[in-house]
Amino acid sequence: MTFAALDARAEHLLRELAPQVLGAVLRRFRDFAASEDAVQEALIAAAAQWPREGIPENPRGWLIHVALRRMTDHVRSEISRRNRETAALEDLPIVVAPAVHAEPHFDPDDTLVLLFMCCHPALSPASAIALTLRAVGGLTTAQIASAFLVPEATLAQRISRAKQSIKTSRVPFRMPDEKERAQRFGSVLHVLYLIFNEGYTTSSGPELQRADLSSESIRLTRAVHALAPEDAEVTGLLALMLLTDARRAARTGPVGELIPLDEQDRKLWDARAIAEGVALVSDALSKGCVGEYQLQAAIAAVHDEAARAEDTDWPQILALYTVLKHMSDNPIVTLNHAIATAMVRGPEQGLELLSALDGDARLSHGHRLDAVRAHLLERSGDHESAVALYRAAAEKTSSVPERNYLVMRAARLSEAT
């Protein structure tokens, strides 16, 4: 089931309302798993009914009403099932579910509380992502499954496992206290970042069948930013997404191969997204408390602000990566730091920094170290070694666009040599 019959405005409205409706239902019933199912059914009912009958006057009230009715049905049948089972043994009075009255009040923080629930550190990242997209993003199971190219049954299972974890960990539906909030906020931002990355790195697949994960993560991060405008890392993450996504149209070539930053047609970059991202990251950095997302956004901004690749302010990028390297133990940061060093101080110095990563188990199965080393060797003029490493990297990557890029890079270089 998809929202195919809905126009863009109605679909946007449904997605926007999904977490609000879920918050309202949860406040009444407390049962997260069942409430989330009821809201999903209400969304599907709207997708079937609204194109025929038009968008109701009070769409939020409509959805809450339908979801509460589903919930009441669910509770009634649960109670009568239990009553049937116990009535045979003891003669207990039959309990009836409470009736549904006026529309519950709306709390804008519901979206945030739901994100805290769905991105709970007890959940695996894959489960947290799936649950977030459904419960907060208002996507259907089918849409999420097609975005991740897995069968719908697999994804449904992932979601029900996530719900089970929430149930057993007894996460309550309320705002965590101040101390826990800061920590949980980190998990929320990480999940949003992973959703963005998933969309960004798989953007060359059979794109027409995919929900656009990058745009969805930007929409959700915007919502979080609106609820916590003073949080510099949320602002930084939103800026990072906008500044990276701005290059989307220039990132792939005619056969879906990746085009590296220095060869992209910068006229294809989205100037409006860049302007917004630059304003956001400048604002975040001025607030003092510098975090990893802000630094990554600042680096993206330096790239985006160069009119031509050769105008890139590499000393500035190197300075930012140096700060980032002190903050993070991530080997990808070390890789990028080596690239920036090579751009400022020459490829030999970059290659020297790479040797520190040779024994790193986190990189030993991947293709990245080989690919970066190949780039630096190419710059240093050792084309033969570069070609061999490009090919080694191509054999190791599990991404088709990346493999195509590396294979063609090797072919081009070996023909030029």
């Binding site: 069968p151 049954a153 059979p206 005619p254 056969v255 879906g256 191969e257 090919r391 191509a394 054999e395 190791k396 599990s398 088709v400 195509n404 294979v407 063609m408 090797a410 072919a411 081009r412 070996s414 023909e415």
Partner: protein, 128 residues
Amino acid sequence: MKYMLMMNTRCGGYEEYMKWPKKVIEANIAFMIDFSRKLRAAGELVGAEGLASPTQAKLVRAGKDAKPITDGVFPESKEFLAGYWIVDVESAERAYQIAAEASTAPGVGDAPLMIEVREVLSSHKDLK
């Protein structure tokens, strides 16, 4: 009826592929993308995947304690599956026609490619 169209290669096939001229590689990638797109548009494509190099492959079986025993790196002469399409078509003839088209993919040496066509048994639901 469903058929699996299999493209096989020798273990060294990936290395040879990477040494093709850039223009041929480009043409090959463009052909594969276009081929899948056409099959999808015709409603005949069930699925298609390319597989990573056999240098990354392992043979696995269960040991006495049911834990996996892996075995790797294979002789050059062995044939490997490089990628496959599963198509849903009216007849075996149509599957052969599609396989013949896949066989014309641009490349160097050994062309046209040999494509192995196998009918997919209608499976029990529990296997999905």
